[in-house]
C-alpha cells in the first residue's frame, strides 16, 4: 500500500513537471513567433515598435543578441537554449537583466496576492456562514453583495477606497509604500472581487451539503448549527472554491496590474504594465513566463489542497 502511494505521488509530480515545462515552452514559442508576425523589422519590434526610434547601435545589438541574421530555426533554438539556462535577456526600457529584475519584483506581488487570497477566503466563508445561519434576508443580501462584488472593477474599487479611507477619513495612506497600513487598501481591493466569486460557488455547494443525508443525521444527533457548519459542511463548501484556485490566481494577478499601478506599489503587475506601455518585449516575455510558471504551481497546490480536504478522491 505504501509503495503504491509513493508511486502515485511520484507520477503526479512528474506529470505536473512535464505540464509546466510544456506550458513554458509554448508561451516562449508563441511570443517568439508573435515578434515575427508584427509587420516590419523584428529588431525594431523587440525595441518597442516603429515609434520607438531605436538607435542604429541598439538595433545592431538586438540583431546580434537574437541572431536575426541567421535562419529562423537557428534563432528559435538559440532563444529556447537561452531561456532554458534561465537567461531572460535584457530589458530595453530599464537596461537591466530581466531575470534579476523579476526576482526583485516577485516577492512583493506574491505576498500581496497570498494575503488577498486569505482575506478573500475569510470573507467568502464568513458570508456563507452568515447566509446559511441567518435565513432568507441574509441570503438575499449576501447574494446581492456577491454579484456586485464580483462585477466591481479593481480600479474603481481602489479609487472608492482611497476616497473614503484616505481622502475622506484620513485613516489609511493612498500610496502603498511598504508599511503595514499601506498594505490594507491594496489587499482589500484585490480580495473583494475574488471573495464575490468564491462566495457564490461556496454557497451553492453549502446548500447542497446542508440538504445531504449526513447533514440531516448530524442535526438529528444534536449538532449545533455552528458545529454543523464547521465540522460537517465547511469541507464541502470549500471544494469548488479550491477547484477555482487557478482562476482566483488569474484574477489576483490581473488585479495586481491595476492595484499596483493605482497604489504606486512596485511589483510584477506594475512592471508588466510598464513593459507593455513601452512595448519592451524581453520584459513582457519574462513576466509572461514567470506568471505562467506561477499559475502552474498554484493549480498544482490547489489540486493538493483539494485532495487534502476531500478524502473521496484518495481511494482511487
Amino acid at each position: 500500500m505504501r509503495p503504491g502511494r509513493w508511486r502515485r505521488a511520484g507520477r503526479w509530480l512528474v506529470g505536473r513537471l512535464l505540464g509546466a515545462v510544456f506550458v513554458l515552452w509554448a508561451v516562449a514559442t508563441l511570443i517568439f513567433f508573435a515578434i515575427r508576425l508584427v509587420p516590419g523589422d523584428p529588431a525594431e519590434a523587440i525595441l518597442g515598435g516603429p515609434g520607438s526610434q531605436a538607435s542604429a547601435e541598439a538595433l545592431d545589438t538586438v540583431r546580434r543578441q537574437y541572431g536575426l541574421d541567421q535562419p529562423l530555426l537557428v534563432q528559435y533554438l538559440a532563444q529556447l537554449g537561452r531561456l532554458a539556462t534561465g537567461d531572460l535577456g535584457t530589458s530595453y526600457s530599464l537596461r537591466t537583466d530581466v531575470g534579476r529584475l523579476l526576482l526583485d519584483q516577485l516577492p512583493g506581488t506574491i505576498g500581496l496576492a497570498l494575503l488577498s487570497l486569505v482575506v478573500a477566503w475569510l470573507l467568502a466563508i464568513g458570508t456563507a456562514w452568515w447566509a446559511t445561519l441567518s435565513g432568507r434576508v441574509a441570503a438575499t443580501v449576501s447574494s446581492g453583495l456577491e454579484v456586485v462584488a464580483s462585477a466591481v472593477p479593481h480600479f474603481w474599487l481602489a479609487s472608492l477606497l482611497i476616497l473614503v479611507f484616505s481622502t475622506g477619513l484620513g485613516l489609511l495612506p493612498p500610496v502603498s509604500t511598504g508599511t503595514p497600513a499601506g498594505l490594507v487598501l491594496p489587499v482589500v481591493t484585490l480580495a473583494i472581487p475574488v471573495a464575490g466569486f468564491l462566495g457564490q460557488v461556496t454557497r451553492d455547494s453549502l446548500l447542497d451539503a446542508a440538504a445531504a443525508p449526513f447533514a440531516i443525521s448530524a442535526r438529528a444527533r444534536g449538532e449545533s448549527p455552528s458545529g454543523l457548519f464547521s465540522r460537517h459542511l465547511l469541507r464541502h463548501a470549500a471544494l469548488p472554491g479550491l477547484a477555482l484556485s487557478g482562476w482566483a490566481f488569474g484574477s489576483l494577478l490581473s488585479g495586481a496590474v491595476v492595484v499596483e499601478s493605482v497604489f504606486a506599489r512596485p511589483g510584477l503587475g506594475r512592471t508588466l504594465l510598464g513593459a507593455v506601455t513601452l512595448r519592451d518585449i524581453p520584459l513582457v516575455t519574462g513576466v509572461a513566463l514567470v506568471s505562467a510558471l506561477a499559475y502552474v504551481v498554484v493549480v498544482a497546490l490547489g489540486d493538493l489542497a483539494e485532495r487534502a480536504v476531500d478524502p473521496r478522491g484518495r481511494a482511487t
Partner: protein, 298 residues
C-alpha cells in the same frame, strides 16, 4: 443545548433546503427584471445618447470645470467643464460596443476551438485533435485574464481595436472549455446515438442535433461574459491601453478622473458606477437565464 429547540431554530439546513426548493421554480425574479431594465437603459444610452443627454460630450467650457453635481450637471463636470452625465451617456456606445465585440470574438473563437476538440472522432485523429486543442487551452489558461490581453497589446500597441480583440482573446479559452465538454456530452447522448442508428449522416447529426444542444449554454455564458468583457475593456482603457483620452469612454473617463480624485470624486464615482451597473446587470441576467435553462439551480 437540547435537540428539540435546536431543530426548528437551527435554521441553516432547514432554511437552506427550503430556499433550494424555492430556487427550483425560477420565474423572472425581481432582480432579473431590474437587471434587464438597467441593461435596456444602457442600450438606450448607446443607441440614442442625444435623447438622455442633449449636450455635446466634447464641448469644452473651462469656466465650468470641476463643478460638483447640480441640476444643470447631475454628475458634475470634469477638468474641461464637460458634463460627466453627458459623457457617461455618450460613452455607453463605445464601452458597450467594445464589450459586445470582445464577447463575440471570445465566444466565436471559443466555440470553434471547443467544437473542434469535442467533435474529434474515436479514431486517433480525433483524439489527437482533442488533446492538441486541450493543450492549447491549457497554455492560454496559464496567462489568465488581463495578462493575455496585456501580452497581446504589447505586440499590437495600444488602442480601442487592439484592446477589444485582446479582451476577446483573453475570454476565449473559458468558452472553449465549456463548449468542448458540452459537445462531448451531447455526442454521447442517446438522442445522437438514435439519430446515428437511424442512418443520419454525420454532418446532419452534427448540425441538427449536436450543435443546437451544445451551443445553447453559450448564449447564457455570453450574457455572463459581457459584464466581464466590459470590466476588462474599461480596465485596459483605465491603464491607458484602450481608447485614447478625449473620446467619451468609461474606462478612459475613469483614467482622467484618477488625476483629480481628491478634488472631483464625481469624475471617478459615476463612470465607474456605469461600469458596475452594466456588469452586475449582465451577471444577474445571465445567472437568471442559466437557472431557467436548467429548470433549477445554476
Amino acid at each position: 443545548m437540547t435537540v428539540l429547540p435546536d431543530l426548528p431554530r437551527g435554521g441553516g439546513p432547514t432554511r437552506a433546503s427550503s430556499s433550494r426548493t424555492r430556487r427550483r421554480r425560477p420565474p423572472l425574479g425581481a432582480a432579473e427584471t431590474v437587471a434587464a431594465a438597467l441593461l435596456l437603459l444602457v442600450v438606450l444610452m448607446a443607441v440614442a445618447p442625444g435623447l438622455l443627454a442633449p449636450a455635446d460630450p466634447l464641448a469644452v467650457s473651462p469656466g465650468d470645470a470641476f463643478a460638483g453635481p447640480s441640476l444643470a450637471h447631475p454628475f458634475g463636470t470634469d477638468e474641461s467643464g464637460r458634463g460627466v452625465w453627458t459623457r457617461v451617456v455618450h460613452g455607453a456606445g463605445a464601452s458597450l460596443t467594445i464589450g459586445l465585440v470582445a464577447t463575440v470574438v471570445g465566444t466565436g473563437l471559443g466555440t470553434a476551438l471547443g467544437v473542434l476538440a469535442g467533435l474529434g472522432g474515436r479514431g486517433w485523429a480525433g483524439r489527437a485533435t482533442d488533446a492538441g486543442v486541450s493543450r492549447v487551452l491549457e497554455v492560454l489558461f496559464a496567462l489568465p485574464g488581463l495578462l493575455l490581453a496585456l501580452v497581446v497589446i504589447a505586440f499590437t500597441g495600444p488602442g480601442a481595436v487592439p484592446a477589444t480583440i485582446a479582451v476577446g482573446l483573453a475570454t476565449a479559452p473559458g468558452y472553449a472549455r465549456i463548449v468542448r465538454s458540452q459537445v462531448a456530452a451531447v455526442r454521447r447522448s442517446p438522442m445522437v446515438e438514435a439519430a446515428t442508428v437511424l442512418g443520419r449522416r454525420p454532418a446532419v447529426v452534427l448540425v441538427r442535433h449536436v450543435l443546437p444542444n451544445a451551443l445553447a449554454p453559450v448564449v447564457v455564458l455570453a450574457t455572463l461574459g459581457l459584464g466581464q468583457a466590459v470590466v476588462w475593456a474599461s480596465s485596459l482603457s483605465y491603464l491607458g491601453l484602450g481608447s485614447p483620452p478625449p473620446a467619451p469612454e468609461w474606462g478612459a473617463m475613469l483614467s482622467a478622473g484618477r488625476t483629480y480624485l481628491a478634488i472631483a470624486w464625481w469624475m471617478t464615482v459615476f463612470p465607474g458606477l456605469a461600469v458596475v451597473v452594466t456588469a452586475a446587470s449582465a451577471t444577474v441576467l445571465g445567472r437568471g437565464l442559466a437557472r431557467r435553462g436548467r429548470g433549477g439551480r445554476p
